[in-house]
């Protein structure tokens, strides 16, 4: 028996900001969930199950927050699951929810991911004082910066590429009312003049710390038939993992990422992603990851990703727009960041992306990664239902 087609019929997110001091965690997730239900014109009673994700518990210090969020998300009397795959969690949460629909376990599933970074400090959460280890570094930037340098060496990319990505993403964010950073006076010169934090990564090439939540309503073919607005159809979805560190690990282009993308393309019948996919919303927490992932995801040959960026191909009006929403560089509620990528892909093929809509976007890839480039999750959504 073939799988049930999965449709996205509701998308909701909060206006992402540095600190939402006016709401509890429950209030924050509720806001996104409510907006997704409103978009789908559904009520709590229409939801069969809830699948929630967030980043590591240390990031907010609430062990198993899903326990206390069951009532805020209308999950009483229904199955509720939590997914946990570090930074990629928003993507894998959506895929777990999608698989419940595809397997016909449930007809309509609410999926949601969130982070309230203002209640903690992620840099602290990533730098616990483990005994017998030599403390050398704090936070994610220093961890990823050597891999960016390795990419620059391997590809021969000029050192201006990172600033082009940051300048583009911040301008895209100006068109997205939900984005955290709205830097109206951004210029390329300002990006290039911003301080080096972890050379080769500049301040303006890093992501902010945000409070926010993102939710989607996923449903089956019958549910999509009742939807008030055009649905986004899942054409392929996959997750892959690999160890954080192992002999032969390629941090610049991890094998798990390549395999994950290949699986999605196989499911969706994509022969040439550069030709067959109209836009990409990918997880770029440090600007250089745009050219790196363009190669890892098969949009450019090895060493060629930066050439697409440099030529303007990834601009909003380019041939392959990347991070139309402004990306992680403009909004980073860590646990939600993966789902925001997936949701943006859905908004694009539904024609609901507003000012950052890519004209004629029919197939859009959503991508997330997490851990030490260890977990990958991706989906490809389309304006039309899958063929089979």
């Amino acid at each position: 028996m073939s799988k049930e087609p999965v449709a996205v019929v509701g998308v909701g997110q909060t206006k992402h900001v540095a600190a939402r001091r006016d709401v509890s965690i429950a209030g924050l997730v509720r806001e996104a969930a409510r907006r997704a239900l409103d978009d789908a014109e559904l009520t709590w009673a229409d939801i069969d199950a809830v699948v929630i994700g967030k980043a590591p518990d240390f990031f907010e210090g609430v062990m198993m927050p899903e326990l206390y969020l069951a009532d805020a998300l209308g999950a009483v009397g229904k199955p509720m699951l939590r997914v946990h795959t570090a930074g990629s969690v928003g993507g894998s949460t959506a895929l777990v929810a999608a698989n419940l629909v595809a397997a016909r376990v449930h007809g309509t599933v609410l999926t949601l991911a969130f982070e309230k970074q203002s209640e903690s400090n992620a840099m602290w959460g990533l730098s616990l004082p483990i005994p017998f280890q030599q403390p050398l570094l704090a936070g994610a930037g220093g961890f990823f910066a050597p891999h960016v340098r390795a990419y620059m060496r391997r590809s021969g990319a000029p050192d201006t590429i990172g600033s082009l990505v940051a300048y583009k993403d911040r301008r895209n964010a100006l068109k997205n009312p939900y984005a955290h950073l709205h830097e109206h006076d951004i210029t390329l010169e300002k990006v290039q003049a911003s301080p080096m934090l972890w050379d080769p990564i500049r301040y303006s090439e890093t992501c902010p710390s945000s409070d926010g939540a993102c939710a989607m309503v996923l449903t089956d073919r019958a549910g999509a038939g009742r939807a008030p607005r055009p649905p986004a159809w899942m054409l392929g979805g996959a997750m892959r993992s690999e160890p954080t560190l192992f002999a032969g690990k390629d941090f610049v282009s991890p094998q798990a990422g390549k395999d994950c993308a290949a699986d999605v393309y196989r499911q969706a019948g994509i022969a040439d992603p550069r030709r067959d996919i109209d836009a990409v919303e990918m997880y770029v927490p440090f600007s250089w990851y745009e050219p790196m992932w363009l190669e890892n995801l098969g949009f450019a040959e090895e060493g060629g990703g930066w050439k697409l960026t440099e030529a303007g191909v990834t601009e909003l009006d380019g041939d392959l727009p990347v991070n139309m929403s402004g990306g992680v560089l403009s909004t980073n509620p860590i646990g939600a960041s993966g789902m925001i990528r997936f949701a943006e892909a859905a908004l694009q093929v539904r024609g609901q992306a507003g000012e950052h809509q890519v004209d004629g976007a029919r197939r859009v890839l959503g991508h997330a990664y997490g851990g030490g480039s260890q977990f990958f999750s991706m989906w490809l959504v389309g304006a039309r239902p899958p063929q089979s």
């Binding site: 001091r21 209308g74 209640e119 005994p131 570094l137 220093g142 050597p146 891999h147 002999a247």
Partner: protein
């Protein structure tokens, strides 16, 4: 077999909590010696209050005051109070349904012993002398035989409401790095770097984890590597981390020690930070009594050819 190391690990952080409207009113109320519940649309009063109806998922914010007296619905005796608990002498954990409420609140009951506690017993709030807007503003409950207290008629509106609290969290672990890393650390004390070779793929892991993550088999064969190595990639750290006592800028590098099949991470010194490069040959610099090399410095050898370390970034 050398001793497996162990040490305490304390994970501690003052998390902050934004309260939202309902918890804000509840905790501000405690500060003012008022216990507030929330009314559901079907007329139940929930204490402590919640923002969303557990039955219908509706948003609820109709606050009502309940009495400071109530009935124990169940309990458990705590023989040995621990740090941070409400009382420092043995007490009962109780669920108390306050007069006017339909649900019960978890708190502590001061009582001389378990024989003095029973389900159905009447209790009242003992307020803390200093109140800040926290559940600890109720110091505990105490036995109470008189008439039920009368709830006031508070609306839940306060001047200067509390909007956030600090919720310090602390976890105490006993951490052990395990056999393989303990052996690695013991060898370091003799200024030697010892990894382990995978019996299947023959790769040498430094530091060793006791198993090969690729093959999934245990590793045991000890292999001394280094002391020299090659900088495979690096970054220059320009921002000072709160919990790190290292002057900036400094170079954080991946170093493939000679004989190792993946890079370890260390600081580079003995060379201006802006002259560090991929391929630089380095050796460890030890300081008296330190567990790890303080940093690695240039050996003066010619730089390694990129092709010799490109798989070890």
């Amino acid at each position: 077999m050398p001793e497996v190391l162990k040490a305490p690990l304390v994970v501690e952080f003052p998390f902050t909590r934004s309260l939202g409207p309902v918890q804000s009113a509840f905790l501000t109320g405690l500060r003012e010696r008022v216990v507030l519940g929330v009314r559901t649309t079907d007329g139940r009063t929930l204490v402590p209050p919640v923002e969303y109806d557990p039955r219908t998922a509706e948003e609820i914010h109709d606050l009502v005051e309940v009495a400071p007296t109530g009935t124990v619905t169940t309990w458990a005796w705590n023989h040995e109070p621990r740090r941070g608990q409400p009382l420092d002498t043995p007490f009962a954990w109780v669920l108390v349904r306050l007069d006017g409420a339909d649900t019960a609140l978890l708190h502590a009951l001061a009582a001389p012993g378990p024989d003095a506690v029973h389900t159905g017993m009447r209790v009242r709030v003992r307020w803390a002398g200093e109140r800040t807007g926290a559940i600890t503003d109720i110091a505990c409950f105490e036995p109470y035989d008189a008439e039920p207290g009368q709830p006031g008629n508070h609306s839940g509106e306060f001047t200067e409401p509390l909007t956030g609290i600090v919720a310090p969290a602390r976890l105490d672990y006993t951490y052990s790095p395990g056999r393989a890393q303990s052996a690695y650390i013991h060898a370091l004390s003799e200024q030697r770097t010892v990894g382990e070779r995978c019996p299947s793929c023959r790769k040498v892991y430094v530091p060793p984890r006791g198993a090969c993550p690729t093959c999934g088999v245990a590793t045991a064969e000890q292999v001394e590597v280094g002391p020299r190595g090659t900088v495979t990639t690096f970054c220059i750290v320009n921002i000072k981390a709160r919990n790190l006592d290292i002057e900036v800028p400094y170079v954080y590098a991946h170093i493939a020690l000679d004989g190792a099949d993946l890079a370890l991470h260390a600081r580079i010194g003995g060379i201006p930070y802006d002259q560090v490069r991929m391929g630089l040959r380095v050796e460890p610099v030890w300081t008296e009594g330190a567990r790890y090399p303080d940093h690695y410095r240039p050996t003066g050898e010619p730089d390694a050819d990129y092709d010799t370390y490109k798989e070890l970034l």
